[in-house]
Point group: C2
Chain length 727, copies 2
């Protein structure tokens, strides 16, 4: 069997994943959506989420068309590039967008059905929530493999080249076309993460301020149109945003391994076989392992999730070995690195294992810094006793400190991967972490689905044991999610490094990037500054978008008479600490149908999309502007952004996570307002912890996660424009 | 006249500066120290400051001896280095330490005498305060030129070489010995800044918490031993810390220009003539310009300070031109850069002007981001309306944003300097900003002296117009101080860059630092992380040291009976809102003499010195450990630390400054507790702004200013060990 035919396995595995997603989403649709009230709330969330996607995709559609036309025009005019770059950019953006659409559609069906299933027991609720997440995971990897795999085949036919000569124009053309796909996916990811992050935090703040503080109705009440937006925001940020994020990580690491592999292995198909083969196998393993995720009533869902995610990773090791061994067969069982060193299958596997080990270690460290009861969170809880200022200082201190060990982990992974297999090893180390993205993302997306289910149970006044079950679901999976975060950070750094090396080769050819060159240093400083500027825009956007949301909710409360009346009833009952009478409840239910959720969602969407323009523009334009001035400066820019971007990303995510759990830890403690103890819900210590948590929101949900994408998007833009600025 | 003889001008100018400092400090000592009460308070502060210095220097003495012995041993064992490195390290540390001692001794005399002079009028008060600062400034530049200049002469005699051959062992030896001096000064600077920063903020927090909150006595009351420590802290951090900081910047930029100049000009004396000549002229100009700083009663002290500082800088431009022109004379009026380009006096001047322009621009930008009434501070004031969380988010957003323009300024300076005069130009750009350090530092140190004078006036119950005058003095000089800050940041970055380039040449010889090499990338990531880890240690140290201080103050309040009694009297009078009766006052005065200030100061000193060990160790050990692993990785480490260190330094200083002035702006507003307006002292908005200000304290006074030193200390350590790790 020829290697060319084996590659077809990648899109084929993608089709398997999509079939799984299709069948599973049908199964979810057939589950019981619960009481009419639950159904109404679920519908509102689903409608809101779709309204967001519709508005977002309209704007992104225009953006994609303009950029694609620009790329096609620029590339059509030069000999070194192909106008196909524009097409592949569109296909990449489209695949990523579709994956977000499918995933969010099913997640917004699964949330209410998880709540409904939780009325029966823990096991059926876990099944619905996890399968909902699995649809997201499989949509992402399925569309990635189908899109990218198909593009690769078209390219090979178009150019008819299988051997690699890095001096050939065709080599640069093929890489820039493949990179176009990745750039499309990364652009969508950046906008989805930034926009989603702004959205969810703006809705959160807006809902709380107008509903709870001004109108005096309880948190999460369905009369408040921003409450729905808040729940929509969870889906928008944590499901669609994360899906697009992992889609671009997945493609980025495959691409990095392919470009460096093409040089190392001296053949396109051989180079593609390793990343695409491992990815394809990873998809099949992920699909099979989803069936192991089940629990008995009274069982521990944590064990079920761990078996699924870690089992898949373990199974992938021997499979990866076999694939690499096969791929090296055509070059005599070993490849020759740039320095002349011969490396074999075991060396390449060492690189993959180094990446995996670093990812797991970083995940555990991240978990440690953000977990209740551990030293870092304990120190924040302790310092919260003397007020918000010490809470903030302690949190920032913890966050700064938390960058140290993950960076050592990344450095160790680079060292080992390079030692065994050079820069190609670094690319493989990134790839190894992402081979089981399918099931990893299923576990990640399961979290917000369970969270939403809990909210729906609360809003629908279901019996307390239902909420207990959804809380139980929500509480586990944290370890797996933390490791997912570790994978995201480590793989972003490693994938960016390998793409960075690819950029150097494409843009500078035989010339090296010399660190003491003033242009490189200028680029380095400017690049180091960009993540700070980007984060400042994201944080400012949250504040501004929240103001827009507040204005709209106030307007609805003022201008819709039945709503105003219902609000008064609820606030009164709340004040008198009694449930609504059946008569009142009927009125309130009727008024709930009058809230203009779509309008509220649309306004918040517009605000968040408007506010995501500038950071997005910064990410896309900076490498282009700097690159057309000097290819060396662009090299420095990428390195600078990588360094300060990774630091800020770790800092912001961990600080936010630690503040969040410090607040929860104070809430867990028994109320005691004695000044010596001063703890529990409502205490001054709690108030201080709540302030830290609020500061942490835009840290961990808006700016932090966007920085990983910023780093890679800038690098991929550089790779795409490299042929244009070379020489 | 031979060039060798001209160089003697540098130590000679240093002697002039020291003579000025000696005469002026005598003059200050002869001024009227005011009422017995003022004198007592002034004595307490002076005793406290000396107690701190004594404790600090004891510890630093041990440290200096150990490191010097280590350097001498390491270097004695190799052919490429000289054990003289250890000696020059000691001399550098000693000169920096002496400058700190002189400056602080006089500053703690000048504060009380400024308050006394302010009873007569503004003009005499300005004279005392400014001359107090000038002693600090002239001690710093005087000792720097005498020490460094003398060392240079000894070296030239010792080795008998005047021509430079970079391949010669002698070249590396001379550089590492000169760098040893700079390393000594930088080590003292780091400890002085970190220790001083921890000290001043710990005393601040401790004094407030125990005195104001627990005992109920007014802020800054002399019965509180931590209040004196607080005032001591201002001297320790803002006078001694800043002096040591500028001492090491001054030497660092001279050294950078000498090393790169030795290569460019191919002669040690020619290379030394430019930086030492400019520095010597700058000292003489600074001394002369101090006599122009005077104001009439009712005049604006701002104008006087501006004339002094800007006038000196303007006069230095033609003088620098003449010196450079003369130095280039021996090589035919131009020098040949590495690429083969010929550059003349005008090109070198262009580089100097680029540095000056960038420094001024960055200073103005820094001023803009931290000033009352400007957009950034206004936005924090606006966001404080909704509480501490939005105050913090807005402040961090402003701080992140504030990195952008200064980095563009630094990038532009590098671009211009490199364009006209290559890397040597970058070194000259750093040098140009620091030629008038003498008068610049006089203006900087004048601030805390006026501030202290205000505190003494308050504590001694002087008439309100006295406090008004000292406030008037304190309020001006902000622009000059902001520009000083701009100079500090820009010159740190540029000097670090030129030393970085020197390191590359020494450690790698003909080999280049290639940015895509995995070892360089590992270094880059680790280096990027160090400023975060360092800042986390500094911030945690403030918290811990404050706790030690609190414990000690509580003990004194509990265990000294007359003090306990006096505290009750004051607290009672305070509660009844009446002055003390003469009888009570007598008791309180007597009790004030019983406070164990030295003990309190010593304990806080020990705590801050203990806590500064780890960050100091981190800064010194990291380059050594990484360098002995790989010289390439150390190159990456320096670049990474430079990038993230500069960003964090700008971010932390500006965020802290903006929060500080946002609080002051709220306090300036008329009290209005109406929820719609919610402003003025005591309002919820004010409480939120106070929290931001407290968070900003360790940002702007502990971690932020130390980062500039961290960057340069690590680079200079790398230069010192370069001959040992080369090859």
């Amino acid at each position: 069997m020829q290697i060319e035919h084996l590659i077809i396995g990648a899109p084929a595995a993608g089709v398997v994943a999509l079939l799984y997603a299709f069948i599973t989403s049908g199964w979810i649709g057939r589950q019981e959506p619960g009481t009419p009230r639950m159904k109404a709330i679920g519908d509102q969330i689903a409608r809101g989420a779709m309204a967001f996607l519709a508005a977002e995709y309209k704007v992104l559609g225009i953006f994609v068309v303009i950029v694609a036309a620009g790329l096609a025009a620029l590339y059509g005019a030069t000999e070194s590039g192909s106008p196909l770059v524009g097409v592949s950019f569109v296909v990449g953006a489209l695949c990523s967008g579709l994956a977000g659409y499918f995933g969010m559609r099913v997640a917004t069906q699964a949330n209410v059905r998880t709540a409904a299933a939780a009325r029966t027991g823990l096991a059926p609720a876990l099944r619905v929530a996890f399968r909902g997440g699995a649809v997201m995971g499989m949509s992402v990897v399925g569309l990635a493999l189908v899109g990218f795999g198909a593009l690769f085949f078209v390219l090979m036919n178009q150019f008819g080249v299988t051997n690699v000569d890095t001096a050939q124009v065709d080599f640069n053309k093929i890489i820039s076309i493949l990179a176009g796909f990745s750039m499309g996916a990364s652009s969508i990811a950046l906008f989805a993460r930034v926009g989603g992050g702004i959205y969810t935090k703006a809705a959160d703040v807006g809902a709380d301020l107008v509903g709870k503080v001004e109108a005096g109705i309880p948190e999460d009440h369905f009369l408040n149109p921003a409450t729905i937006a808040d729940n929509v925001g969870d889906n928008v940020g944590d499901v669609a945003g994360m899906g697009a994020d992992l889609f671009e990580s997945y493609i980025g690491s495959i691409l990095g391994a392919m470009i460096l592999g093409a040089v190392a292995l001296n053949g396109w198909f051989e180079a593609a076989l390793i990343p695409l083969g491992i990815a394809a196998a990873g998809v099949v393993v992920s699909v099979l392992m989803t069936y192991t995720v089940r629990t008995k009533e009274g069982g521990n869902p944590q064990v079920a999730l761990d078996i699924g995610a870690f089992g898949a990773a373990a199974i992938m090791l021997p499979i990866s070995y076999a694939i690499i061994n096969f791929a090296l067969g055509s070059s005599g069982g070993s490849i020759t690195l740039q320095g002349g060193k011969q490396v074999g299958t075991v060396d390449l596997m060492a690189a993959i294992v180094a990446g995996l080990a670093a990812g797991v270690a970083i995940g555990l460290i991240t978990g440690y810094y953000c977990s209740k009861g551990k030293r870092p969170v304990n120190s924040i809880v302790e310092q919260s006793r003397t007020g918000p200022a010490t809470n903030i200082i302690a949190g920032i201190g913890v966050g700064f400190e938390s960058t140290a060990l993950p960076i050592l982990g990344i450095a160790a992974a680079i060292f080992v991967a390079d030692h065994y297999a050079g820069l190609y090893g670094v690319a493989l180390a990134a790839l190894g972490m992402l081979s089981t993205t399918g099931i990893q993302l299923a576990v990640d997306a399961y979290g917000p689905i369970s969270d939403n289910a809990g909210g729906i149970a609360e809003m629908s006044s279901l019996p307390p044991q239902v909420r207990e079950r959804t809380d139980n679901l929500d509480a586990v999976g944290n370890t797996t999610a933390a490791i997912g975060k570790g994978f995201a950070i480590a793989s972003a750094a490693l994938a960016a490094l390998s793409l960075f090396a690819a950029y150097r080769g494409l843009a500078l050819g035989g010339k090296q990037l010399i660190l003491t060159e003033p242009k490189v240093l200028i680029g380095l400083l400017l690049g180091g500054m960009l993540p700070f500027l980007f984060s400042s825009m994201a944080m400012k956007a949250v504040g501004d978008a929240a103001m827009d949301m507040i204005t709209e909710v106030r307007r609805q409360f003022r201008e819709i008479p039945v709503l105003r009346e219902a609000l008064t009833l609820v606030a009164k009952a709340e004040e008198e600490d009694r449930p609504l009478t059946p008569e009142e409840d009927e009125k309130v239910q009727a008024a709930g149908k009058k809230t203009e959720v779509e309008r509220c969602v649309a306004i918040s969407t517009q605000a968040s999309i408007r506010r995501m323009m500038m950071p997005g523009f910064l990410a896309l334009a900076s490498p282009v502007v700097v690159g057309f001035w000097s290819a060396e400066a662009l090299g420095g820019l990428l390195a600078g952004t990588l360094v300060s971007g990774v630091m800020l990303a770790i800092f912001m995510s961990n600080t936010g996570g630690a503040w969040d759990n410090a607040k929860k830890q104070v809430e867990d403690q028994k109320k005691d307002y004695n000044p010596e103890v001063n703890t529990g819900k409502g205490s001054d210590r709690h108030k201080a912890a709540v302030i830290g948590d609020t500061v942490g929101d835009p840290f961990k949900d808006t700016a932090g996660p966007s920085l990983n994408i910023l780093i890679k998007l800038m690098t991929i833009v550089a790779v795409v424009i490299a042929p244009l600025i070379a020489g």
